[in-house]
């Protein structure tokens, strides 16, 4: 991907790759931590039937009550996982 560039063209190309919103980048960077939280919640739900029932009844409320604050994607993934199992 190399070709000759005048300075005007370089400016155009630099403008093309603008920073993504910081919050998006941060959320993506936190995926490993979100994943750990996710695994922890799933393991607990498998071992604790009462907790699992509370999750199924009202996922967000049950998570908050237990001190978890996972992002929307983890919640969506968790909901999918709970309904599948």
């Amino acid at each position: 991907m190399t070709r000759s560039h005048d300075e005007e063209r370089l400016g155009e190309l630099l403008r093309l790759l603008r920073p993504a919103p910081e919050a998006w980048v941060r959320a993506a960077q936190e995926l490993p931590f979100a994943r750990r939280t996710f695994d922890e919640i799933v393991a607990r739900a498998e071992a604790d039937l009462e907790f699992r029932a509370a999750l199924i009844a009202d996922l967000e409320a049950a998570l908050q009550q237990q001190g978890y604050e996972p992002g929307r994607r983890v919640v969506d993934e968790l909901r999918k996982r709970l309904t599948e199992s």
Binding site: L16, L17, V25
Partner: protein
Amino acid sequence: MNQLSTLTDAELVQRCRAGDSDAWGELVERYSRYVYAICVRGFRLSEEDADDVFQDVFTRAFMRLETLRDDSALRPWIAQLTRRRCLDAISGGGREQPIDETSTEVGTAGMEEIDEAFAVREAIATLSDACQEILDRFFAQDQSYRTISDELDIPAGTIASRIARCLRKLRDELEGRNDASEGSRD
């Protein structure tokens, strides 16, 4: 420049697979503008759709890093994931498009340019921190001379000449790469 930013893509992927969350942070940093550009410049998605695609691409990349067969092919892999998700967003369904590299007509015209921009950004990383900063602020962040001057504490009257000097260095760096790649083909 941090130590992780000097790693090749293949090295970065290997560290991510080993569970290094800092390496994952660098991978996201390295590719965030690229994915964002494909979404909003290549496919002209709304910010809302672009946010969904952006998060989904990195979630899938994180979950499926094990399936990447050639660690050095991270960029085309991420590009493919992003294009597919953009097409899903455009078609309005949650379903994944079938894997067909020839069916990505939407946005294809912009992909070559976005790839070219990515190569230029890689070349920028070889310049001094001062050059990287001023070029990024002026071109990618649309900052005015006044803002750059205030934030970097340099005289406003020297900004234009500094930008021109850094662009020349960038051009020289890219021409050096051209010469090297042409030389290697001889």
